[in-house]
C-alpha cells in the first residue's frame, strides 16, 4: 500500500515565523518520519511569501547555522495547483507534481494559523490537520473568541476593544472609558497575535496609552482587559473532533507580577520568573497544575466547553485564568496550533510524539471524510430563466 503524502506547511509572513519552523521540523516532521507511515513533504513559506519544498528543509541545522538565506537562494520556489486536490509543483526540466493527501499546517500567527491556510485547503478539497477556517479565524481574534465564549455562558474577564482607526480618531474617549469601567491591573493585547507578542501589563493608567500604542503597532485591533485577582494561569491542550481528549492542565510558574511574554516563552527557556518550574519539559510549568480536585475538574470542563463553543477540531490549546479565592475560571484565549503541539504536555499525559502526530493525521482524514459526505451543490433551474 502506498504511503500518504503529508505536506507540512510552515514559516509564512508572520511575527511567529521562527517559532513555526521549530514546531514544524522538531515536533511534526520528525515524528511523522519516524512513524514510517507517510511521505513527509516539507513546504516552507519564506518571510517574503514564496513557497519552497525540498528535503533539506527537514534539517533544523539549515535554519540555525546562519546561512539559511544562502541555502534558500539555491532553491527554486514551488507553485501549487488545485487539480484533483492540492498539488505541489516543483520546477525543473520536467515539473514534478506531488499530490498531497493531507496538509499539516504548522504556521503560527498571521497568514496561516488565522485560517488563511485552511481556506486554501478547503478550496483545494484536501484533508488538513487542526481547526477549520472559521474556528481558526475566531481563535486568532481574541475579541471574537471571548464574545463567542461569553455567549455560551463561559466566564470571561471584563474587557474593552477598539480598532486602530477608532483609537486614532479619539484616544481620550477610549482611555476614559477604560478608566471608568476597568480596574487595574490591566492587560493590553493585540487581538490577533499569539506567542504573547505586543502584550503589556499595565499597573498605572499613566502607562496605558503607551501600552495601547505598542499593541497597535502589531495589530489593527486591541483589547484592554481587567486582570484577574488571586491569579493562577492554566492551559489545557485538547485533541479530537467530536470525542475530545484533554491533555493535562499546565500551570506556568510565574510570580503574580510576571506574565508570559515572548521572551519568557521562547528565549529564556521560561526562566524569567524567580520560581523556576521543573516539571514542564520547557522548564517553566507544572504539569499537572497543582489545583484542588474540584477546581481542576472545573477548569478542564471549561477548556472543553470553549473548544466546542469555538468549533475547534484536531487540536487546540485553551488558556484560562483562575481566581483562587472565588474559584472562578475565566476563559482567556484559544490557540488553534499550540507551539510544538505542546508535545511535552501530551507526553506527560501518556501520548508520545509519534502517536500524537499520527492521531492528528487520522483525525484530519476522519473529518475530511465527514465533510465529503455532505452535499455542497445541487441542481436548480435558476440559470434557465436567463435564456
Amino acid at each position: 500500500m502506498s504511503k500518504n503524502n503529508i505536506a507540512v506547511i510552515f514559516g509564512s509572513r508572520s511575527t511567529e515565523h521562527d517559532v513555526s519552523i521549530i514546531t514544524a521540523v522538531a515536533s511534526i516532521i520528525k515524528p511523522l518520519e519516524l512513524s514510517g507511515e507517510y511521505n513527509v513533504i516539507p513546504v516552507y513559506i519564506a518571510k517574503d511569501g514564496k513557497w519552497y519544498s525540498d528535503e533539506s528543509l527537514k534539517d533544523i541545522n539549515k535554519y540555525s547555522n546562519g546561512k539559511f538565506q544562502d541555502h534558500l537562494s539555491k532553491l527554486k520556489p514551488v507553485s501549487i495547483s488545485f487539480n484533483s486536490g492540492l498539488n505541489i509543483i516543483k520546477p525543473g526540466l520536467k515539473n514534478k507534481v506531488i499530490n498531497i493527501d493531507v496538509v499539516f499546517p504548522a504556521t503560527h500567527g498571521t497568514h496561516g494559523e488565522d485560517g488563511e491556510l485552511m481556506a486554501i485547503c478547503e478550496m483545494a478539497g484536501v484533508a488538513y490537520v487542526g481547526c477549520n477556517v472559521s474556528a481558526s479565524s475566531i481563535a486568532m481574534d481574541k475579541v471574537a473568541a471571548k464574545q463567542i465564549a461569553a455567549s455560551s455562558g463561559i466566564d470571561i474577564a471584563k474587557f474593552i476593544h477598539f480598532s486602530k482607526y477608532e483609537f486614532s480618531k479619539d484616544p481620550t474617549k477610549y482611555i476614559n472609558e477604560i478608566k471608568n469601567n476597568l480596574n487595574l491591573p490591566l492587560f493590553v493585547k493585540p487581538s490577533h497575535l499569539g506567542s504573547s507578542i505586543g502584550i503589556s501589563r499595565v499597573t498605572s493608567f499613566d502607562e496605558l496609552q503607551n501600552a495601547i500604542e505598542v499593541s497597535l503597532h502589531y495589530d489593527d485591533k486591541v483589547l484592554v482587559e481587567e486582570g484577574v485577582n488571586n491569579l493562577i494561569e492554566v492551559t489545557l491542550p485538547i485533541l479530537g473532533n467530536e470525542e475530545l481528549t484533554p491533555a493535562l492542565l499546565e500551570q506556568p510558574v510565574l510570580h503574580s507580577e510576571d506574565f508570559f511574554d515572548f521572551e519568557t516563552k521562547y528565549l529564556q527557556g521560561g526562566k524569567k520568573g524567580k520560581n523556576k518550574g521543573s516539571s514542564g519539559s520547557q522548564g517553566y510549568s507544572t504539569i499537572p497544575a497543582k489545583l484542588p480536585k474540584d477546581l481542576y475538574s472545573k477548569a478542564e470542563a471549561t477548556g472543553l466547553a470553549v473548544y466546542r463553543a469555538i468549533g475547534c477540531s484536531g487540536i487546540a490549546r485553551v488558556d484560562m485564568l483562575i481566581d483562587t479565592k472565588t474559584n472562578k475560571v475565566y476563559f482567556n484565549e484559544v490557540n488553534p496550533l499550540p507551539g510544538g503541539l505542546y508535545s511535552h504536555n501530551w507526553n506527560k499525559a501518556g501520548i508520545n510524539n509519534v502517536e500524537l502526530v499520527t492521531r492528528l493525521i487520522d483525525l484530519a482524514i476522519e473529518l475530511y471524510a465527514t465533510k465529503k459526505s455532505i452535499e455542497t451543490v445541487f441542481s436548480t433551474n435558476y440559470l434557465s430563466q436567463f435564456k
Binding site: 519516524l34 501530551w346 507526553n347 506527560k348 499525559a349 501518556g350 508520545n352 510524539n353 502517536e355
Partner: protein
Amino acid sequence: MIKSFFSIYRPSYFSTIIYMLQSSEYDVIKYLSWYWTTQDFSKVRVRGNLKKTTAAKFLLFTSWALALFMILIGVRFIYLWTNHQLFGGWTFGLALILGYPIIIANLIVVPLFLARILLVSPSNNRKILKSEKIFKDFKGEKIAIVGSFGKTSMKELLVAVLGDYKKIAFTPGNKNVAISHANFALNLKGNEEILLIEYGEGAPKDVELFARITHPTRAIITGLAPAHLDKYKTLKAAGEDIFSVGNFLNEDKVYVNQESRDVVSFLKPKFNLYNRSGIGSWKVANIKNSLEGISFEMSNKKTTLKLSSHLVGRHHIGALVLVASLALELGLSEDQVVDGIKNTKPYEHRMQPYKLNGAIIIDDTYNGNIEGIKAGTELLSELDAKKKFYVTPGLVDQGKETKSVHEKMGELIAKSDADTVILMKNSVTHFIEDGLKKGGFDKKVIIEKNPLKFYKNLDQFVASGDIVMMQNDWPDQYK
C-alpha cells in the same frame, strides 16, 4: 544494485574493509564471511567507525599502495597489449584495474594470517606458559566464572560484595581468553587474596584449556544456553566444554545456576546448586521486586539475612544468594554481606533502568541469550505501565538452533504483556514473528528497518508511564 556494486570504488572502501577486520577482531574467517555477504559497502559502518590503531593505519596504507600498484600494472598490461600485442594483456590489465578492490580485500588477510602464525601466536604462547606457573603458585582463592551468559555480571557482583573487605583482582571487562588471563596474571601485585577469572567459551576445548592454565579452586557456572554454536555446533558440545572445569576441582567447589534448564544433564551429585529459592541450607523468602530493585530474606537454621539490591528482576536472586553465601564462606561477616549486597546495582546495558521523557527504559542490550530474554520478558510482564514496549533484534551465533531459539523467543515475548513489539529487521525477524504467532500475540508488531535511527529517537516513541524493555543489540557485522 548498481550503486551497491560501485560502492567498492568509493574512497572510503578501504577504511570500511579494515573496519570490518577490526570489528571481527581480526578473525579472518568471520571477516571473509562478512565481506562476501556484503552487497553495499557504503552502508557497513552504521554503529562505529575505524579506530586508527597502528595496525589499522598500516593496513590502510598498504591497501592504498597495493591499489595504486595494481592500477599501474593494469595500465602497463594494456599498453603492452596495444603496442606489442601481448597475449591476454588487455583482459588481464582491465581485470586488475577493475578488480583491485576485491583482490585487495581478500589479499589483505594473508599478512594477517602469517603475522598471527609467525609472530603473535609464539609470543602469546610464551606468555600463557609463564602465567600457568603464576596461577599454580598462587595460594589464595582462584574463582573461575564460566557459562554461556551472566559471567561478567557475576564477576562484578562478587567484586561489589567482596571488594571492600578482601584484596581481590579480576580479569577486566570481557577479557576472558587465555592471552587475557596471561596478561592478567603477569600484572598481579602478589598481595591478592582472591582472583576472579572469567572464562569466555568460544570454541570446543576452550574452557578445558583455561582451567588447565589457571588452576581454579572454585568454579561458578552461570548457565548454559545456545551461544557460539557456530563453533560448538550443538548445545551438548558447549555444555561439555563448560562443565569440563569441574574436572579440575572437587565437586563441592563447583556452583551451578540451576535456573538454567539445560544444565541438568551435566550436574554431578556434589555440585552446589543455586536458584531464586536458595542455595544449600539457605532458603529465600519474602521477595519484593520493583524498578528500584529487589529485596528478600535469606535464612538457614541459625540466622536470617535481610538483603536488598538495586538490581532489577527476580532472576538476579539466585546469583545474589550465591554471592552472599560464598562471601560468608570466605570470611565476611553477616553485616558486611548485607552492606555489600545493598551496594550492588545494575551494570551498564544489563537490565539497567533509566528515565526518558517520563518513561522507564530498561536497557538490557548486552543480553544475548535466551535465558536472559526469559528474564526480561518475565520482568516486563510483572511491571505496571500505561503502555509496554518490547524491543529486540534477536540473538546472534545460534548456529543450527537459530530457528528454534527465535521461535521460542517469540513465544516468550508473546507472554510479556507488551502492547507493542518492535523487531529490528534482520535474518531472524521472521522466526520471532512465527514465535509471536504461536504464542498468540495479537497486538502491534513493528518491523524497524533502521535500528540506529530508532534507538536515537526513542524519546519520540515513548511517553510518561510507559515501560520499554530493550534486549540485545546487533553490531554491524550481523545482518
